[in-house]
Amino acid sequence: MPQMSYAEAIRRALAEEMERDERVVLLGEDIGLYGGAFRVTRGLIQRFGPERVLNTPISENGFVGVAVGAALVGLRPVVEIMFMDFIALAMDQIVNHAAKLHYIYGGQARVPLVIRTPAGAGRGYGASHSQSLEAWFVHVPGIKVVAPSTPRDAHGLLKAAIRDDNPVLFVESKLLYGAKGDVPDPDEVCPIGRAAVARQGEDVTLIAYSRMTVLALEAAARLEEHGIRCEVLDLRTLAPLDEEAILASVARTARAVIIEEDTRRGGVGAEVAAVIAERGFRGLDSPLRRVACADCPIPCSPTLEEAILPSVDKIVVAVESLI
């Protein structure tokens, strides 16, 4: 299979799974003819028809709840939330319903629901169109959270998410939609719950996910020139977290820098740090570091936005401060 973009990889995974299983239906705002704000679902309504690609009204809590109900009785809906910021409107249906029903119904029910949504800043979209809110869901038992960094993982993880019998939040990166990469096998399913070593190194582990993996790899390349060999661990799944992979890498390098695009306080990186501090403490040689978005709303002005986001430079500085 040729090189393709992250967006195209997602589109293919959707199409393949819809082909494979007629219970898979898509719901979301403007996902039909328009193809969604980022055109990820473009062409699918022509191929699968309006009964399987449903344009919804602007009713986030409502249509997520509709998807929960549909999932409960046999469909496998994939919902698109146009920007992750809007997921704030749907928290009740996701948290109090989707994530809980399997457990609180004593195992009778399954909610095979995928919620796809683009996260992240860097496009000058402002405070309500730029957030990375995945940490909320990492904190919610009963929902899995994945956040791929490559077209290949986006494709394979989305297939896994759609086949999973549990709710899965599938976090996409706006800035990666155009990024190209190999997707060798249309049947490849990437298991949920496993991190991947994106680069090997001995001196320090850079732990990242989604677009931050790309920055971490760039930083690693730059640091190599300074003689610092970084291992880059791409988490890929945030819940359940691949604690073993984190601990194994940190045990080798004895140092870790966690890179996340969400705001620092209470972010995903905090959980990663806590896991290391609890279970990997003995092998650690130096303090942990987090490189994250500053604790403020995302300003619209591009210069301000850039200033608060993680960057290759900031990663390099954090790594160098440890060594």
Binding site: V66, G69, H102
Partner: protein
């Protein structure tokens, strides 16, 4: 018709006996937590479920024991659920506000006011797309009609012409808040206008009227006619939940409504028509009471789930 009403009367009495027992179990501290009794409102779930098929679906509010029993759940396992026991429909994990039995097509009671409305709507979407011929009943209270989920759900059901009947149990109050203070409309049924769907107000304390109205609505929905909103007027005899002194309403108002009790009305109708004798009535009461006794025995004999397994079963 009349002999069918006998069955409804029995079911309404079973629900009431069940609820009264739940109330007592609370007083006796044999149940913990909270509960919302549907005493006074039994005609709505009974009439509504009489109008649909067993394969149809229903979803309820927090005040949902009556709907659960009307949808076919058995008192034993429902009581076990309320007592937090292993043989409860949800192994005691769900409890009163989150009890479901999918094999009965009962999608669950719901502790989030308005939370069940989109879920019922989604089940109707699935029924439509999968062409199962099912209809879904979505139950909620007057207070829930002020939630955004009500609006968003009814709108989607209307534009997609989903096979769902929205059953609003208007018992005049949401907790302590009178619906006249929480909505500036005389009748909640007019809210259907906003979605281009039919709305009607019916006497929710008349089991036959409920059955007829729901039957018409369900037929229409099943044949592709789309959703509708039925406002069923009723009254809860007890407080909102166990700790409610009912200061927000008068004893006079309660008297008036007690006289409109749905069970009394069916009894009177059946006795008047000679379909029921005072003796048969007594037998009926004894029967349902025994059934509830048995449910409590069953539930109390059921152990709780092993606490060591409490955190298991989060994922399928």
């Amino acid at each position: 018709m009349a002999c069918e009403e006998l069955g409804y009367l029995r079911l309404m009495k079973l629900i009431r006996a069940f609820e009264e027992r739940v109330d007592r179990l609370f007083v006796e501290a044999r149940i913990h937590g909270t509960t919302h009794l549907c005493i006074g409102q039994e005609a709505i779930p009974v009439g509504a479920c009489a109008a649909i098929r067993p394969s149809d679906l229903a979803s309820g509010s927090h005040r949902g024991h009556g709907l659960a029993l009307a949808k076919g759940l058995v008192p034993n396992r429902l009581m076990a659920e309320l007592l937090g026991r292993r043989d409860g429909y949800c192994q005691g994990k769900g409890g009163t506000q989150h009890v479901a039995s999918l094999e009965h097509g009962f999608l669950g009671t719901n502790g989030i006011t308005g939370g069940g409305i989109p879920i019922a709507t989604g089940a109707a979407l699935a029924a439509k797309l999968r062409r199962t011929g099912q209809v879904v009943l979505s139950f909620f209270g007057d207070g829930a009609t002020n939630q955004g989920t009500f609006h968003e759900s009814l709108n989607m059901a209307a534009i997609w012409r989903l096979p769902v009947v929205y059953v609003c149990e208007n018992n005049l109050y949401a907790m302590s808040t009178a619906i006249r203070d929480a909505a500036a409309v005389e009748r909640l049924a007019v809210r259907a206008t906003a979605y281009g769907m039919p709305g009607a107000t019916i006497d929710g304390n008349d089991v036959l009227e409920v059955r007829e109205a729901v039957a018409r609505a369900a037929d229409r929905a099943r044949s592709g006619g789309g959703p509708c909103l039925l406002e069923c007027t009723t009254y809860r005899h007890h407080g909102h939940s166990k700790s409610d002194a009912r200061e927000y309403r008068t004893r006079e108002e309660e008297e008036c409504w007690l006289a409109l009790d749905p069970i009394l009305r069916s009894e009177r109708r059946l006795l008047g028509a000679g379909e029921l004798t005072p003796e048969a009535l007594k037998r009926l009461d004894a029967e349902v009471s025994a059934e509830v006794d048995a449910a409590v025995d069953f539930a109390e004999a059921s152990p709780p789930l092993d606490p060591g397994l409490a955190a298991e079963g989060v994922f399928a």
